[in-house]
Symmetry: C2
Subunit: 735 residues, 2 copies
């Protein structure tokens, strides 16, 4: 499908809020200062599993400056939202993991609040605990959830998660060889730069929460539900946000704590996390143990895949705990059983492309291994089994996966550089690897308002939070293109539920598609009104008019035109609005990616240096090249961290997290990553806004497997458990 001619879309556009960001004028939640504001801190459980026998807050309350202490006995806000599968509260007994909130203090300053935490006397009755999900499923394991440790909930949270099509038994019979193996991934923290903060303020019966959230609309819905308020009485504001990567979609516990403290004290309350709070108190990516059985024909064609897995959703289940890394292949017969399991550890939940990097690591490593064992070049193995129909039968809305694979192979010079595993000599061994990734592209509910000023400039109102992706700029670009005016004529307001329309929330790579579609429809609504006004002036029918680059013109005679500001000068402001909720019928959407890496493994130190990294993506039309490239680079960097260094280590006897910080659960910096070479194969997708699909989630999905496969190619050693640390490499090379 040919691309459209665009005026605004597809350029390299700087962020519309660049000035505010670089001058420090951008107001993040942490910057919010209100008169009489109190500061709140959270006391956390030192035990992985314990009943709270008593809480004595008298000493804390006597500390001058302390205004309130809340805990499970005096602040029982029911928590049913945020995707939890069983009833819990903002404070619970028994506590179920080290780091679970036990109490919260509001005081006149941060230091007093912190001092007060030490004065709260909690008596615990310790209960037996379990950390490993496989152990947790044994009959005699300590019971964490009232439903048992195999996490059973409703809807998406039913357990086990099963999916199947075709007939795997038949598929395995058709196979020439059958392979079985197990891959393991660990709990990795989202580690976004901005710690969680929440400022709550009551004005009579109206609650305003400045939240560090990925979605003000959903945060409002959850907070309103949990506090029993109508939606109109809860305002959630998030204008600037310092990352979340899925950590800030749900779990408004801390917003609720701030709200309760503000209500109790009658003052605004700012609840702030430390970096350690973020690591131990929220959630990270769920760990997994994935057992694959794969049937393959002699030529490498997959005939059947069976996956049996457990995932560790921690003490409370917030999200699916699913594994979806097999999505990017043509698999005729498929069966998957994933068991999300409760343990006495911090919650395992959404982190960028939640169910994918773990399972892409497992499946694409295993395919690479099978290629090796069958003497097939991995490039051929991946090409042969490329995605052609979703779930074996459903057409894609668009699919340039093959072009991604071919283009990436060309760029990395696969044919010239690939060699047999471990074939290079010397201290530093060369390796090359690849893997496939992507992410589903779905339609859904969006809303937008566009106010067109009499001078032809316009105000776009959208609920989106810009979590760092440049979503504000994307929405402005879409509005400018759809209206037909220059981008610098657009002023955009976002992230404030009192004034901006519903937005799905910036997660699951949904914003551009969901809200972007609504922006286009709102622009259409505005254009209708513009044409009605301009038609009278141009003495034609409204249907004869078009609007582009700020000029209303007669389609059949473009020189008959009016600047928009002139057309509207007497008509006042016109308002376009839309609520859109499209659906895909008989098609499935997906963005695709093929990643390639070259590495140099130092056989003396076990250190791996990535010497080249090529990422080729099919995300449909790229609406703005600068942030799109940044997304790819950022995703790969997070994959590099997951591959090499990041893991929340938990002390077995005490269950205490040992490295809840950037230094010890090492997040890569510029020093540790190569230049990421990004290429987009721009296949116009007829279902996406201006042909665009999803961009944010895909790049992290194949990165870990790509690196692991390159290490295998260098060393001939297959690493089946993350992270691939120097000690594991050295041990493996010595073995």
């Amino acid at each position: 499908m040919a691309q459209k001619e665009f005026s605004v879309v597809g350029k390299k556009t700087s962020r519309i809020d660049a000035y505010e960001r670089v001058t420090g004028q951008a107001q993040y939640t942490g910057d919010v200062q209100l008169p009489n504001m109190l500061y709140a801190r959270v006391l956390r459980s030192p035990h992985p599993h314990a009943k709270i026998v008593s809480i004595d807050t008298s000493k804390a309350e006597k500390l001058p400056g302390v205004k309130a202490v809340i805990h499970h006995q005096n602040a029982q806000v029911p928590w049913a939202s945020g995707g939890h599968t069983h009833r819990r509260f903002i404070f619970n007994t028994p506590v179920r993991y080290v780091g679970e909130a036990v109490a919260a203090v509001a005081a006149t300053n941060r230091h007093i609040a912190e001092d007060a935490l030490a004065l709260i006397e909690v008596k615990y009755e310790k209960l037996p605990h379990v950390l490993d999900p496989v152990e947790a499923l044994k009959p005699d394991a300590p019971k964490i959830s009232t439903n048992g440790n195999l996490s059973v909930g409703k809807g998406n949270f039913s357990a086990p998660i099963t999916e199947q099509w075709g007939d795997v038994e038949k598929g395995f019979k058709e196979a020439d060889r059958i392979f079985e193996d197990t891959y393991i991934t660990k709990h990795v923290n989202n580690a976004q730069l901005e710690r969680r903060e929440s400022v709550a303020k009551w004005e009579g019966g109206k609650l305003t929460v400045w939240a560090s959230t990925q979605g003000v609309s959903n945060a409002r819905t959850d907070i309103a539900k949990d506090l029993g308020l109508p939606l109109s009485k809860v305002r959630v504001i998030c204008k600037y946000m310092g990352g979340g990567f899925g950590n800030k979609n749900q779990a408004q516990d801390y917003d609720l704590m701030a709200a309760v403290l503000a209500r109790v004290t009658g003052q605004p309350v700012k609840l702030e996390f430390t970096r350690e709070d973020d690591f131990v108190g929220m959630h990270g990516r769920w760990a997994s143990e994935q057992r694959y059985k794969i049937g393959v024909k002699k030529d490498g064609t997959i005939t059947a895949v069976e996956l049996n897995a457990v995932t560790n959703v921690g003490a409370y289940r917030k999200q699916s705990g699913n594994l979806s890394g097999t999505d990017f292949y043509q698999i005729p017969n498929f069966k998957k059983v994933v068991n999300p399991v409760h343990t006495n550890t911090v919650v395992g939940a959404n982190y960028r492309a939640p169910a994918y990097p773990q399972s892409v690591f497992g499946f694409a490593s295993f395919l690479d291994q099978i290629a090796h064992e069958m003497g097939v070049n991995p490039l051929d193995m991946f090409l042969k089994n490329r995605a052609q129909l979703a779930k074996g039968k459903i057409p894609y809305t668009s699919n340039a996966q093959e072009e991604c694979i071919v283009e990436g192979a060309k760029q990395i010079s696969w044919k010239e550089k690939w060699h047999q595993a471990g074939a290079t000599s010397g201290v530093k061994k060369h390796g090359i690897g690849m893997a496939l990734g992507g992410y589903p592209f779905r339609p859904g509910l969006g809303a937008a308002t566009i106010r067109v000023n009499p001078d032809g400039t316009a105000h776009v109102l959208v609920g989106v939070v810009d979590i760092g992706t440049g979503a504000k700029t994307t929405m402005a670009i879409i509005a400018a293109e759809a209206l037909g005016i220059p981008l610098n004529h657009i002023q955009l307001t976002n992230g404030d539920t009192d004034v901006t329309p519903y937005s799905v929330g910036e997660s699951g790579s949904r914003t551009t598609c969901f809200t972007g579609t609504a922006v286009i429809a709102a622009a259409e609504d505005a254009r209708k009104q513009i044409f009605a006004v301009a038609a009278r002036q141009l003495k034609v029918q409204a249907e004869e008019l078009d609007l582009k680059d700020g000029n209303v013109f007669v389609k059949s005679n473009p020189s008959q035109k009016l600047p928009l500001g002139k057309a509207l000068s007497r008509s006042g402001e016109l308002i376009g609005r839309a609520t859109t909720n499209p659906s895909f019928k008989g098609v499935e959407g997906k963005s695709f990616a093929a990643h390639y890496a070259e590495v140099e493994v130092d056989t003396w130190t076990g250190h791996v240096k990535i010497t080249r990294y090529v990422a080729v993506h099919d995300s449909g039309t790229i609406l703005n090249r600068i942030p799109a490239e940044s997304q790819i680079k950022g995703g790969v960097v997070q994959g590099i961290g997951m591959a090499f260094t990041e893991e929340l280590l938990i002390d077995r006897p005490t269950a205490i997290p040992l490295n809840p910080n950037y230094r010890d659960a090492k997040v890569p910096t510029h020093l540790e990553v190569p230049e990421i070479e990004v290429t987009f194969i721009e296949r116009y997708d007829p279902y996406g806004p201006f042909g665009g699909k999803v961009v944010g989630e895909p790049p992290i999905t194949p990165a870990v497997a790509t690196i692991a496969n390159a290490i295998f190619n260098a060393t001939g050693k297959r690493f089946k458990e993350l992270p691939i640390t120097p000690d594991k490499i050295l041990n493996s090379l010595r073995a």
Copy 2:
């Protein structure tokens, strides 16, 4: 015309923002605090007319903490907006009145800014000046405007202002008697509680102004025009506002000064007025000298009216300078010539019902005098000449003036209490008086957005500023009634040009009609979408549905219904929007009022005590009884001040205002006013939102004349020049 059945309209509704107001959480412009904010003060001219020879700011600039000094040489922002008729700047030379801005200083705190003013050395070359408008028209008077002192401008500002219908010469021939006399009113300051403040902040090329304005949309338009910015790059915010009464419609000079200082310094700037600044630096009601010639038949019927007047618009013409007090009568032949004149005094411009109280004082006093001289009871005189057709021929949209007159006469027991002028004996003499007033009710441009939440609550977005009238509550009432949901399900956002739609500005009693009409249309747009969604669930056609009290129901079978929150639970937010611009064709709108007062005049002290005050108003449907009654009371109180005490006294030789403050230009407090008894005659007006007309301006219009007529009835003395002070009364009684 019968009234509709209303669910929300017509009750006694407390303000929706009452909590914020009484707890001090309401943020007025003066409450705005920004990081690094500077404070600005204005240096004013001590001379009524002088060229600025030089300005030396070096000493001021050396004062530690001073960041910028701007004046006519370095801050030439052209000022074409705000209704000015000739080109002027934010700083001018020559300066044309005592109090005109000469320079502005921004400093790190208020005290430094004030100290710096004293360090600015300005050399003036004094020019001859003139204070009296009649003097100013003489050929040898000093020239103030380049166009001459008879203010000549464009459009509404052409001079003289003339209006006529019928044939006055013929009318005077038909008269049995012809009367001629002159009435004089003085410059009265608006004296609103909130002094003018302005906070300006630049973010790159985007200017945000927190203004104390009566209209954010118009303030934005003017600021954008004056600074050469697109509308999208200027944001004007006014969430709470402490009164303006016409003083804060236009004249964004001080917003512009703050903006220029903020741009020069790179820091946010708050420019604050002192109380004296407000009296000498803005404007008050234009003074007038009105010469009437009235022809009357024996029975009191008016045959012709001729008015020749001069009004003092001061050094710059901001508004019309018109006189319109003859509007409330049936006048078959009419001719008016009003000459707005420039003098070297502070500007005379809009103050509540701008052209009316002066002229109602003159005309209704004179009618009362004519009734006296002809031996007709004033009640009969006013009834006989009541308004039946506008301009002698145009039907009114609705008219309950006669009922107002009759009802008020009944309430005050006119027949029992009226006596011949000066007929009572004793030291304290009883008097009773009446007059007619009102204000035009016009249609015009409005816009509104209503976001309906999935739980059935709704967000209304309107540009209106609530200047104290309760307009926010009115808009919420209209939205609730029009949507069909309870008022407490409405959340309203107002007064922020980045997010709220255009509003006409709270002046001229236009908001309820202009923006209220748009709110109804936006609700209709939302209802259409609601019915489309609910029709699917109720399995009927959308046209069969209605929505009331939060329930969607089938009109033919109201028990077949769905709570709105249930109907929309899966549909997401729906957005209604409207831009409306109706016009009246062949009809004229007017609200009417008849006021009655009883007074007790102390013939020893000259003090007048108002013992009873009855105000009967035809404002159509009353949408909210509490603020409507408050409007009537407030208007009368301002009339009492104008009648008795308020006048900006100017020293003749120096032209310096002598009493620019609340104490010396005495504004009445509760101690000085009686209980105002308010009655509404609710005639449904088919052209108004839910039958409503205008409320805010009318009550001040007849108040002064009502009191003057009561004093005449008490004393037999006619006071033809305001204010009617004790010394004037004593002098008159002695004469």
